[in-house]
Symmetry: C2
Subunit: 305 residues, 2 copies
């Protein structure tokens, strides 16, 4: 199934003329998942003309303003425009304490429910599961408790070889059993092994979001071989000492994680307002991990058709 990510904001704490604070919407398994919700998120949704009929979950990496100040505006606008479906916000428990007084003051008579799923950013664990996919936390190293998120499709059942259905006159009722792994017995009593009747579906797509974090090798086994890694790259090499002080990553460090984890592709974001020229940032990443892309705000990236 198609996978795409809509980058709403890829800036860091201080907005610039082109960079708004962090937020993105991942579209996967026909559902939408918002990751972080910095100031301007609802504005960029409007600018992109992006509707969110399948957005029922928001994941907040950590409680710095550039990752969550857009929540109150988004939730208020949804209240005003008649949303009725509940929304679940997966975040550090403090977020509920912060948001509830705001919601009570600004959005009396909420027409929908806001649920908070308290997560522990220090643990790598399952925080969301449905029929087709899962989301797990990825502990990161930052100034406040912070985690990334790993979105994984579940392995879909194998496909049936259509020509076999015809060849062996397989009744429709048998197909779910074969998809689940059963062999097929013909009227003559011949057993056709499952492996001859099916071929495997695509391997499950896996996408990870890792922002904000200092260089963190503990991430590597958790994201080994995933299809796409979105990793923060706040600074170029030039700002390495500032990067260390603020517990962020350089583009080169992000690329090193991508390379060591053998990921398919690397999207870089969360750029500092100090970066005037993005060429060194791109080059420093590319030297280590060629399949690098720098994201732009208000842009959709098609990850899988």
């Amino acid at each position: 199934m198609a996978v795409k990510v809509h980058i709403l904001g890829s800036g860091s704490a201080k907005p610039t003329a082109t960079l708004t604070p962090s937020s993105q919407v991942l579209q996967m398994c026909d559902k939408q998942f918002m990751i972080d919700c910095g100031e301007g998120t609802q504005i960029n949704l409007a600018v992109m003309g992006l509707r969110t009929p399948r957005l029922d979950n928001i994941f907040i990496s950590h409680l710095h303003g550039d990752h969550c100040f857009g929540l109150i505006g988004l939730l208020s606008t949804w209240a005003m425009t008649g949303r009725t479906r509940s929304i679940t916000i997966h975040a550090h428990p403090d977020l509920e304490k912060i948001m509830n007084p705001l919601l009570n003051y600004f959005s009396t008579d909420m027409p929908y429910e806001v649920r908070f799923n308290h997560i522990n950013p220090l643990k790598h664990e399952l925080i969301y599961e449905d029929r087709t996919m899962t989301v797990k936390t990825l502990p990161l190293r930052h100034k406040v408790p912070c985690c990334g998120f790993l979105f994984e499709e579940k392995q879909r059942p194998p496909h049936i070889q259509k020509e076999m259905i015809e060849a062996y006159h397989i009744p429709v009722a048998e197909i779910p059993k074969i998809k689940a792994g059963a062999d097929f017995k013909t009227e003559d009593g011949v057993v056709i092994p499952n492996s001859q009747l099916t071929y495997p579906s695509d391997p499950p797509y896996r996408y990870a979001y890792c922002s904000d974090t200092a260089y963190n090798e503990k991430l590597i086994p958790l994201i080994e071989g995933i299809d796409c890694l979105y990793h923060e790259a706040t600074f170029t090499d030039e700002f390495e000492s500032r990067c260390k002080d603020t517990m962020h990553s350089t583009a080169r460090q992000a690329a090193t994680i991508a390379q060591k984890a053998h990921v398919g592709r690397l999207l870089l974001g969360h750029f500092s307002s100090r970066i005037a020229d993005f060429t060194p940032l791109y080059n420093e990443s590319k030297q280590v991990f060629p399949n690098t892309m720098l994201v732009h705000d208000r842009t959709t990236y098609y990850l899988k058709d």
Copy 2:
């Protein structure tokens, strides 16, 4: 002195691709005054490249999110970028109760002081005064306590007729006294009346911001003859009943207030996301008050040279 207004956002509650929530910076008497601070205010400051070295006062008309959700982001960014000058926020007392927990959580070690001046939006009174100007509240009619703001220059002292200084050999030390109204006595004992030595300075510039409000004739005497009125015009005539329900104004109603108050010019803003075509809105205002202008986001209007 030059007067200009930087429109950061002129939208209403729901942002659109072109309209962000309310905020503007009035530049008057060489100072900057922010009026309202909806989500995206700090982003639009960055987009406009507008620096705010003389911004020490923020005026919040009322506590609906589209007029104040940008505050926490702006104050946090200032904290992070080393602001040291205190800021005064003039607003309904509830704003302090809302903001303090947010500031305590997100901006520990604030390098500057945030002062709250509690205002009573139901009264017309002086809430700010300095050497050159005053700000007064303008009670409005809205769903929650809400006021506009009247910014008035003080009358500056008269100018000295330069040719009189030469003609009567007036010493420099006498000039402040003459500016303050004194006559001048020549060495021969002849009294030159003040009126012959001076000519009046420009009349004080007056600017009023009125948003959000239902049609409100009580405003008229309070803004009689001012130079520029910024008035909300959320709807066209077509939406008159919705306008009434939501306690907003149509463009025609805004123009009627402008016309009855004999203001110099009318700036219209706070447009509903339902307005797809702005031509009727403009025309409906212009029919009643010709000197109408519809503002655009991220645009500066030069009101006086």
